[in-house]
Symmetry: C2
């Protein structure tokens, strides 16, 4: 059994349940004989290289437990992409703190970080076990059925679209459309989740724009028109990463972040939703609004899906169990045993596979027209989001 | 006792609890001997003039009860400002449906509508009792301590700012600021409510921009700089109606709505928050985001304050009690008996007084610098918003 200290870190954007994973790792570490100190890196790998480390064993048990229901990344996070020149410093810190167990909670870029650190240490003859815990609201990690953090963000999206749909229908004599923009980079999982809000045909959402389908302005406006003719109003959901056929984001304002990802959303101030809003106003001269909640979708702890919290915590604990059993170079993964009833278990995915790229929505989840999702998609998403509230409608009997 | 039918309507923007008021009116009407049918106007006074009326007595009791927890305006709403030419049509409809009791749930424009209809009927020799039920997320109605709908919207604001504050703090190595824009027209009550999120000095929000104070770009940027120097990040909350000293909205994109209100928010696409975002980027070249949730603040039924639901319902019932006792030309008002413990009762305010204008935040609620609120303000708001969740923080002990 490899004895030594453990270092934990959170990387990339937060979610509403990433601290539940952290809680799971910490509580499991503190119970392991093989693990001496349980250390946390402040602000991810960036802070670790500056030796910004804290001893999590000195935190009150109540605070560690409170992480389960605290959103965002309590250790702090970063988006630092390790350069070759960084590895000596990382190894120096690992040696300084006598670290043999290395856990990062994050997305595919983070899994790549663990992979490269573990590989470097092996090359340098330093024994290190590295295990990744999945995390992302985007749900675009390969090697796992879904990711912790997604279900809760999806619930936020579905609730928001459901509620805003009622408002838009009730205010249709004043405003004719409502647009909700989700985060999610290039994957349509979050906008797709809005579909769960629909119970009757006329319910929101009416149109879902997924990054997996090229945006066609004429087709979109024709769909908006049909919807308005039919219902008197229109609810549109769009992922921040929706692009034209040539790859240009419809938000038309882009900068790149450290991982060569094209920056969507409000960096330049413009957004996909704002552009759609302008298109509709110019074409139809209607009144309407667009809603850009950004990171609020990623930290709404009061809107978590209980199953998401449970799975996030379980992934954290499992990472430690795998590590002390000698398993290295893997990410804990979630396996869907069945959809209805929903049953899940945990597995592993090799880090090298996960680090490869982002997992888009499969074709069978997107409808033929490309402006909504299929029943198969709804069935997949339902257990991850949990039941939505029941709101009443008044009849039209006079 | 005046015998006849009752007509109910919802007017202006919805809230998360306006249907609770509707529920209260309906349930009280159905129990009154003096009231025959309980009718509802579809889409407010606009629908009423088109004879779009439904018999609420024919709705299942479970649906009426379900209104308590259903957001937005189940009857539909409008923003139609009655013109002199409208009154004969209104009277014609009142006579057609043998209406003697007239209830509208809305803001100051709505109270003015009831007032003018009631006055016209009296001039025409038609006996009509009109009572208003207060409603607005803006909390800017005169004649009442606060308005149903405000507490829940304020809770949405406080939760959002609290959660986004954790995220901004944890991500400060990546992004340096976060801006949350509230609805609320020209009153600062909603941005002020964000102050409840602050438990420690470094918690969000750091700067609150209220429409009651002229925006000063240099003063604002200096405050942002100080905050960033001190904490490493900055949380800003701004009301949509913030203006420069000359009255120009900082959103710099305006159109007028039917009641001669300057249109804020995303009508032209630009917004106050977007402008602040651009100012900060241009001045400091930092990364950050802005959040414009718009109507989501007005229909988040899962984030209502239980006290708000209770008061909204009670106002609805009281309107009917007043009406059948012969009281006309008043709005039900909420009286604050004490703040701690919080105790309230119901009173009345003459419609003529309420219709006059909007109630701004008093000077004693705004701090000297004009970029935040006072303890007196926090004390006033606390019972209306309800307790916020407790989130944990990790220490910095190494």
């Amino acid at each position: 059994m490899l004895r030594g200290n453990a270092i934990l870190g959170q990387s990339g954007g937060p979610t509403s349940v990433i601290n539940a994973s952290l809680c799971g790792i910490i509580q499991a570490c503190l119970q392991q004989e093989a693990i001496g100190k349980t250390l946390g890196m402040r602000f991810g790998i960036d802070g670790f290289m500056r030796d910004e480390v804290l001893d999590l064993g000195r935190e009150p048990a109540a605070v560690i437990e409170g992480l389960r229901t605290t959103p965002s990344s309590a250790l702090g996070s970063c988006r630092h992409k390790l350069k070759d020149a960084d590895f000596p410093k990382v190894l120096e810190m690992l040696k300084k703190h006598d670290i043999r167990y290395y856990f990062l909670i994050g997305g595919n870029d983070t899994m790549d970080t663990i992979h490269r650190v573990e590989k470097y240490c092996r090359q340098q003859g330093y024994e290190l076990i590295g295990v990744g815990v999945p995390k992302t609201v985007d749900n675009d990690l390969c090697g796992t059925d879904h990711t912790p953090g997604f279900g809760s963000a999806a619930r936020y999206v579905a609730l928001s679209v459901q509620q805003a749909g009622l408002l838009a229908r009730d205010m249709q004599r004043v405003d004719q459309y409502v647009i909700f923009q989700t985060v999610g980079r290039s994957a349509g999982w979050l906008p797709a989740a809005a579909a769960l809000a629909k119970r009757s045909e006329d319910d929101a959402p009416h149109i879902i724009l997924l990054p997996e389908r090229a945006f066609d302005r004429e087709k979109f406006l024709a769909a908006v028109r049909r919807c308005h003719d039919r219902y008197g109003w229109c609810s549109i959901v769009c992922g921040e990463g929706v692009c034209y056929a040539d790859g240009t984001p419809i938000s038309a304002s882009q900068t790149k972040d450290k991982f060569a990802n094209v920056e969507f959303g409000a960096m330049g101030g413009t957004s996909a939703a704002m552009m759609l809003h302008r298109m509709i106003r110019e074409e139809f001269d209607w009144r309407g609004e667009f809603q850009v909640c950004e990171s609020l979708q990623m930290c709404a702890a009061d809107r978590t899906c209980p199953g998401d919290v449970e799975e996030a915590y379980a992934c954290g604990r499992r990472a430690v169990e795998l590590a002390v059993a000698g398993t290295s170079g893997v990410m804990v993964s979630i396996v869907r045993e069945s959809t209805d009833p929903y049953r899940w278990s945990l597995g592993t995915a090799p880090l090298a596979e996960v680090a490869l790229g982002a997992k888009p929505m499969p074709d069978e989840f997107i409808n033929a027209e490309g402006l909504s999702v299929t029943q198969a998609c709804v069935d997949y998403l339902k257990p991850l989001v949990g039941p939505l509230p029941h709101y009443v409608r008044l009849g039209n009997v006079s």
